[in-house]
Symmetry: C3
Subunit: 344 residues, 3 copies
């Protein structure tokens, strides 16, 4: 159950969601819950038949459901909407926003901030953070405990870093960026040259540039460029354990699901969707709005608006046909064995 | 070599392992070792022929081997058992247990604990830990250095957190849970809705619930639920870099090997085994005791007691047949080219 | 742009690179840059036609390019070489080396070092580091903020640990090793035995041994051995999020790209190359100089000097033929359907 600091009347909920209600406008609601945990001040939602008994037995003060659903729940306070789950999430977003306390300017005494760093106000900087020389931390940033921001890195306004984030030197991070725990921004790209039997390190002297409103999942890595910048475009979202190699350039509003890996210098357009565990080879271009199925391996350029899957990936429609035929391969093989023999 | 604080006589070793021994019951043993590093007080084991010379030349005080092996090692102190490696591990488990020092109640002065947290006793809390408001840390917990436990999280008794673990708000963790370094529990699920060209964040207000005796590998991530809870059942083990998305429900005593990824809302039964790098799509149900081969991609429901592999995965027996036929595909293709031409 | 603390005259650049120059030997250069950001003291390089306009318009004081390229850039200061990018990197390596300040002996007051640890000199130990009992830190090591080095671990000389690295007990790390942020060295191997319905933990009492000049990427994990040691040979490089299971033995000068995973007890020879997201099953041997394509799944032994790809992997030449035939599988299937029917 999620308890909110501020309660809402049913009338207020109605206004926020623009939905129809049945029930007293004065009921007071203060939480969102699963059916079983709900109290008289909780909101729940109901969409799927299999949860009817749980919803019906729930003590919830308000049920968000469809007009159809409402008929099955007589005597309850109902918020009627075509998309109960979506409406609930919309309400929660609003509720979180009005409950979010104004950030208080607070720098914990255990945080170590270089005198040559420029710290905005208000900001919140947690225990044991280390902020290096010439860093700039914009107004409204919240840096949680044990984060490291190395020399020369810049954060825009209103960023949120969860605990244990590491940012290497000279990273440039936009505004309203969210970075989850364990993420590493700006580690060296993986560049070596085999010379005289030794993997010689290619210096990685570029940096990482992250656009506004990017979100980076837990334990993801964005490597710094060899020269120039590894770039993540505005509004793009990375899930957990995503790997972005040196010199990649990712467009705006892309979605990279968990455990995706991009090799070096690959370019993604805008609104590209890579499902979980996709791998993309280096130096490729993926067009705008391309969609790639889970576990696919992209080995060549992909045009805008295309759908691919498989490893190596083919156009989705082609790959589907191949997979459908593939199920019959043992039969085809037997046929071949019989006729190949009889023909020769 | 693993040196134990407490030594054991051969007689004691015999009692613990219920195995037969040849040699003086008074020999004193204090370590487990590789053959080459062994001293007169070390135990080694021998199973594979290729190690005979090393074992034979070893200074080890005791060799665990089979009755067959014993005949080849005359004049040595031997512990005879059908499964030498297994017997050694059993002995080591016992030995570690009797040597484990009673946990001393100690909270390092650099740890920052909210006054509204409830800390059991004895507990050990390492340097630079941060424990938030309303957290509960059960008796016997050992929290290593630089761990973050965020507001409202609860740990049962005798948990062991290695350094640099991050636990987000409101996580509920059972007793005797082991969490390795870099693991992140409770980060936001990856939920966005594309609206007016922007990936709008879906609030993630659920939590994570982890059962008793779960072990979570290094750098693994278990995301919090959108609503409700992401749940890991009692006794389940996660290897390194495993990704569990929001609202997954994992049964009891499952094994998820390294780099496995589950998409959102997927449900695993009990005793499910997912080999390394397996990916499971969202909103699926995997039955009890299902076994999935490495790198497989699960795209649909899998019944209990089934074996699957491949990407997309098929029943193992079907996939094996397809792969066997697939090797002949170039020959089949040549046959097709020849006969297709001649027939048209 | 990368600004160096020390500037170089064009004459000096010529000497370092052994390349031909056109332009005044007295020009002073202090940075390496992208064309657009360059100043009169910046060096840029030009190889690809598509960048001609940018290079031509650049204010750069020196352009590294080929003899052909030089003709297209009259009136500019040019360094002429067959491999412009390579020459630039060579120059940068040299430049970084001469600019690297002598390490100052400095142990931050917030670092907690066990009195029974042996710390070399000079060393640099960052904020909030924790170094355990009986650790040895060699001369010239730089341990960045928030690193944990657990009891009994040994680092050779001139190692560089980025922030938030975790090293478990009894790890042995060579000289000139680089470990990136979030890496975890020595966590427990994933070993359990199902007994009486419970996954019983197999004690992991071995350790990790890492050779000289190894580099380990961000958020990678190298697990400790059950008995004995997990070993990474001299000069081997691991990219980000690589998983090395217990008891693996990796040879010298190997390259393991991002998100590779090795199951337990697998052995790699020298100069093995595993591309991104490759998985290798346990207890296998991969021969020297073997090369494995991205996302491949290795399920059996692979000889030296071989090339494999696919999941499960086959020899590259075989797999290429299969994939080429596979595209025609829908046609082959139709042919089969027609003729199988007509024949029966």
């Amino acid at each position: 159950m999620k308890q909110f600091k501020q309660s809402l009347s049913l009338e207020r909920v109605r206004q926020i969601t623009s939905a129809d209600v049945s029930g007293s406008p004065d009921i007071v609601l203060d939480s969102v819950s699963e059916p079983a945990d709900a109290t008289a001040s909780s909101i729940i939602f109901w969409e799927q038949e299999k949860y009817f008994d749980a919803v019906s037995a729930s003590l919830a003060g308000l049920i968000i459901t469809t007009a159809e659903g409402a008929k099955r729940l007589p005597g309850r306070h109902i918020l009627i909407t075509d998309k109960p789950y979506f409406t609930l999430l919309k309400l929660v977003s609003y509720w979180l926003r009005i409950c979010s306390t104004q950030i208080q300017h607070e720098i914990k005494s255990s945080a170590v901030i270089d005198p040559a760093a420029k710290i905005g106000s208000p900001v919140s900087i947690g225990e044991n953070c280390v902020i290096g020389k010439d860093c700039v931390i914009g107004d409204g940033c919240r840096i949680s405990a044990n984060c490291i921001i190395s020399d020369g890195s810049v954060l825009g306004e209103n960023c949120l870093l969860y605990p244990n984030v590491t940012i290497y030197e000279d990273s440039v991070i936009g505004s309203e960026v969210i970075i989850h725990s364990g993420a590493v921004i700006g580690a060296d790209g993986f560049g070596f040259l085999l010379m005289e039997g030794i993997q010689q390190k290619i210096p990685q002297i570029g940096n990482v540039v992250i656009g506004d409103r990017v979100e980076i999942g837990a334990n993801s890595c964005v490597d710094r460029a060899t020269l120039g910048s590894t770039i993540i475009g505005e509004g793009t979202k990375l899930d957990n354990m995503v790997h972005i190699a040196h010199n990649c350039v990712i467009g705006r509003h892309c979605m990279l699901c968990a455990q995706v890996g991009l090799a070096g210098s690959t370019k993604l357009g805008d609104y590209v969707y890579l499902a979980g565990q996709v791998g993309v080879a280096g130096h490729l271009k993926i067009g705008d709005r391309a969609m790639v199925g889970a576990q696919s391996g992209i080995t060549h350029e992909i045009p805008a608006d295309s759908k691919y899957f498989g490893s190596p990936a083919l156009e989705a429609i082609t790959m589907k046909r191949i997979l459908a035929s593939q199920k019959n391969l043992p039969d085809i093989y037997r046929f071949y064995l019989k006729h190949n023999k009889s023909n020769t």
